[in-house]
Symmetry: C2
Subunit: 126 residues, 2 copies
């Protein structure tokens, strides 16, 4: 057993497909993954940890482009932490707005549901 994880293992861990993992590397979301003697990827713990954050960013609707911007900051060194923080805080705000819009829109659908329940109850009493 070698060090690190194969692309398949990481796919299983993260819920991403192997295709997607290779593509993430290609577009610059992951640093080049080290290879074993046969040229196969061995993901390190830090690669998987980064994926943990990346998948959360994606799942909350951050565009891949913006995730790439964030990773470029990470790669550029620690001096830009404030900028990274701002990016994350801005995303946080976006997600909070997203949630409240979902709640607001759901309320409209809920009213429709209530209406249908009313119709069906009325039929019932016939």
């Amino acid at each position: 057993m070698e060090e690190g994880f194969s692309v398949g293992e990481v796919a299983a861990k993260t819920g991403l497909t192997a295709y997607t993992l290779r593509w993430y590397e290609q577009v610059g979301l992951l640093d080049p993954i080290p290879r074993d003697h046969a040229g196969r990827r061995r993901y390190r713990l830090r690669d998987v940890e980064r994926l943990d954050l990346l998948t959360k960013m994606r799942a909350t609707g951050m565009p891949v482009r913006e995730m790439v911007r964030y990773i470029e900051l990470v790669r550029a060194g620690t001096h830009n932490r404030r900028e990274r923080l701002e990016l994350l805080e801005q995303h946080r705000t976006t997600v909070l707005r997203q949630i409240s819009e979902l709640e607001r829109d759901l309320a409209v659908i809920d009213r429709k549901i209530t209406r249908y329940r009313g119709y069906l109850d009325a039929e019932q009493t016939d």
Copy 2:
């Protein structure tokens, strides 16, 4: 001033583009919109009301395909109200899960934000 609304007016009202409104009609989300003597669409109140619901469905992530399914039920008559209700209730559940996943994922991002704030505070004290 004629009865009803032009495509541009409805676009302004709903936030959809005129392109999208025509496309919605084409894919069957809207019944054929009546035309004035020059062939221009005049949306009725009930068309706009339907769009109110449709935009909420879209905004909460319902795929267009499924919205079409719902509208087909509406067109088929009142006898399938139970089925429509079930469709809406299922969507409601989906949206609720969506919201809680957003909250869960945001928590991970929040932890990262807290970490960055810590770094920056530490720098500050130098």
